[in-house]
């Protein structure tokens, strides 16, 4: 009875919030207060896919959702990235009948890494997809080691499918602590962008089993690449699916003879796609359908958003070194003169520790074609110092207010780019729209 009342309340609050144009995780938060075990009391569909990892999980999650909808029209998903317990509870309860049954044949949920244990304790997940583990918001999550450890502990009794990036040693090691799971690895073969050495912020240089230094046949980006331990069996796994014939300029790659196109031209995007294609194969969805889904997928939310401020301006979210490096590499492929705004905030959702900017390769921006960098946000000066000590040769301008930064950018004439941390994204979008032509 208590569970039914809780569901009623959730729907009631949610309807109320919708009336005021708000969504979010408040209903779930209240539901968990009323009944902490509410999620254990309902009947679930047999197909529940959980997506987690550090970078690209919202994009990947939403691609998996688009894919699953082709087979299960009534699939549900936290598409807006409400990936903590309260947001997930809101999603599930809002689709639960008073007969305590989820009215959907498939649930796709993005889950914050530290919330994976809570979700697995409450929801009968059938498939887990893990992309990568990087340093991210260290002050919130503790050291990355701690994050991987917590996810690992939660897998001890997990009996479903585990779809892992086979080129990330920190992801691969999870197979060791998930003895009852059925493990599938995906990867990306060597290509034009692969390197013999990596100088980017690296995690897990050591074998998880024997502490020997891992060897790499090649690196893709950061510590992602084809690794193995010279001393034991770690890293000698076979791949369920692998992307070959990667052509980054054409944004294409091949899996099992089918040519796919990605919505983003970067290696991390190809990893996301191969993860999604692995789900298609596991759930018996044809590659042609998967191809159509990936090609039609529209990126949102701070991933290459275009604005017209008299000239094109590209907005990107940055939140950790690896993500920032990839965005900067992308920007620097443009060889014309350019001006860049970087908004660095240190609110809780951004991570209150901004030292990650020193692990990111801002040296990538140091180039005679980078004319002006405008530093903005709560930690604008820290960003300016980061560039100064990288011997940036262009002009550094500090304008802490986002609106001022955009006015300045608008007054310049080169190609325009904006990088913003999470809480700067929405104000930045508003400012850019206000300054549209």
């Amino acid at each position: 009875m208590r569970a039914r009342i809780t569901i009623l309340i959730v729907k009631f609050i949610r309807a109320g919030l919708r009336l005021f144009g708000r969504g979010g995780s408040l209903p779930g938060q209240i539901a968990l207060k009323l009944d902490a075990n509410i999620l254990k009391k309902i009947k679930y569909p047999s197909k529940i896919i959980l997506v987690t990892g550090t970078n690209g999980k919202t994009t990947t999650n939403n691609m998996v959702y688009a894919l699953m909808r082709k087979k299960y029209e009534n699939a549900i998903c936290n598409v807006r990235g409400d990936n903590l317990m309260a947001g997930i509870t809101t999603l599930i309860l809002n689709h639960t009948s008073f007969g305590l049954k989820v009215q959907s044949d498939c649930i796709v949920i993005e889950v914050d890494e530290l919330n994976v244990p809570h979700v697995l304790k409450n929801v009968p997940v059938s498939t887990i997809l893990i992309n990568n583990f990087f340093r991210d918001q260290l002050d919130r999550a503790g050291e990355m080691e701690n994050v991987v450890g917590k996810v690992g502990n939660a897998l001890a009794t997990y009996q479903g499918q585990l779809v892992l990036n086979g080129d990330d040693p920190n992801v691969v090691r999870l197979a060791d602590v998930a003895p009852q799971a059925e493990v599938f690895y995906f990867g990306v073969a060597k290509n034009k962008l692969s390197k013999q050495v990596s100088d980017e912020a690296s995690e897990g240089k050591f074998c998880f089993r024997c502490n020997a230094v891992l060897e790499y046949d090649y690196y893709q980006y950061s510590h992602i690449g084809r690794f193995h331990c010279p001393n034991c069996d770690f890293g000698h796994h076979s791949f369920y699916l692998e992307a070959t014939d990667v052509d980054i300029d054409k944004q294409s790659f091949t899996v099992d003879g089918v040519v796919f196109h990605t919505p983003q031209d970067a290696l991390y995007a190809i990893y996301n796609c191969v993860g999604v294609i692995s789900i298609a194969k596991l759930y018996d969805i044809s590659f042609l359908v998967a191809k159509e889904v990936l090609e039609g997928f529209e990126l949102k939310d701070g991933r290459m958003e275009h604005f017209d401020i008299g000239r094109d301006c590209l907005l990107n979210l940055v939140k950790n070194p690896t993500g920032a490096n990839e965005v900067m590499k992308y920007i620097m492929r443009d060889q014309e003169a350019k001006d860049i705004v970087i908004v660095l905030n240190d609110n809780v959702q951004d991570g209150t520790d901004i030292s990650w900017i020193w692990d990111a390769h801002f040296d990538l921006l140091v180039d005679s074609q980078t004319k002006v960098i405008i530093c903005s946000g709560l930690r604008a000066y820290d960003m300016a110092l980061r560039l100064k000590y990288e011997n940036f040769t262009g002009e550094i301008i500090v304008l802490p207010k986002v609106e001022d930064a955009i006015m300045k950018l608008k007054s310049l004439h080169d190609h325009a780019y904006v990088l913003a941390t999470y809480t700067a994204l929405q104000p930045m979008r508003t400012a850019l729209r206000r300054n549209q032509k």
Binding site: E143, D353, S355, D359, V398
Partner: protein
């Protein structure tokens, strides 16, 4: 003039942007036409520590710190010799903890420290981690300087007779503590990341002077334009003053 820096365990002890300190030291020397060499020293690498003006060790994750412990112990005599010969030592977080008597990590594992000093570190899960922006008033050989940074440590370091400075905002060596860091004229240990040096140019120059003093009697550092650095520090100081508590 030439400044010789040894960055120990650069590949393991490199958390929270500590590498930025090296970048700052390097640029502030080069901008004054002081030559700089930066050597790195990993586990098992042969390096004569006494050859350097400055030894730097940053912070690392618990698991990784365990890996280098034995290597550091093997170098204890070399470290003592270098200090005796006036090499300056800058230690952040994990590096700082290693120079004390022992360190008990969050899982209760005890690691013996180098025991160069009387302080020791224990993790205490009851009080939680010391996380957040921090300001201290450091005492740099008698000169009082405001230093800002970011701390993030579970370890509580106790029994320090010569702290680096007084806590103005933040925790310091222990949860809600009064003092931060350790400094004895030759070895400077601190929990301050951020990294430490970009926003604290006075501290950076102090370290450069102290280090060069090993080989050069009179070290005069040409003033640099520190407008950005001091604005950055002032912005953080003002913010911390406005925050409650």
């Amino acid at each position: 003039m030439k400044m010789k820096i040894l960055w120990m365990y650069h590949d393991i002890m490199d958390l929270y942007g500590d590498r930025g300190n090296i970048q700052v030291l390097k640029k502030r020397c080069l901008d004054r036409d002081i030559e700089v060499s930066i050597d790195t020293c990993g586990i098992g690498e042969q390096k004569n520590l006494n050859d350097y003006h400055l030894i730097f060790i940053g912070g690392g994750a618990d698991r990784e710190q365990h890996l280098l412990y034995q290597d550091l112990v093997n170098r204890k005599q070399d470290i003592l010799d270098a200090i005796k010969a006036h090499t300056f030592v800058l230690l952040i977080c994990g590096g700082y903890q290693f120079f004390g008597k022992y360190y008990i990590d969050s899982n209760g594992n005890r690691i013996e420290g180098l025991g160069l000093f009387e302080y020791y570190t224990e993790s205490n899960s009851d009080v939680g981690r010391c996380i957040g922006n921090i300001e201290i008033e450091a005492d740099l050989d008698g000169e009082k300087v405001s230093i800002v940074g970011f701390e993030n440590h579970g370890g509580q370091t106790k029994n320090i007779k010569t702290p680096l400075g007084k806590v103005i905002k933040g925790h310091g060596n222990v949860y809600r503590g009064e003092f931060e860091g350790f400094y004895n004229g030759q070895v400077l240990g601190t929990y301050m990341h951020g990294p430490l040096l970009p926003k604290n140019p006075e501290m950076a120059d102090f370290i450069i002077k102290k280090a060069l003093h090993k080989d050069y009697e009179e070290v005069m550092l040409k003033p640099l334009d520190d407008t950005l650095e001091l604005e950055a520090k002032e912005t953080m100081r003002k913010r911390m003053q406005q925050e409650k508590g």
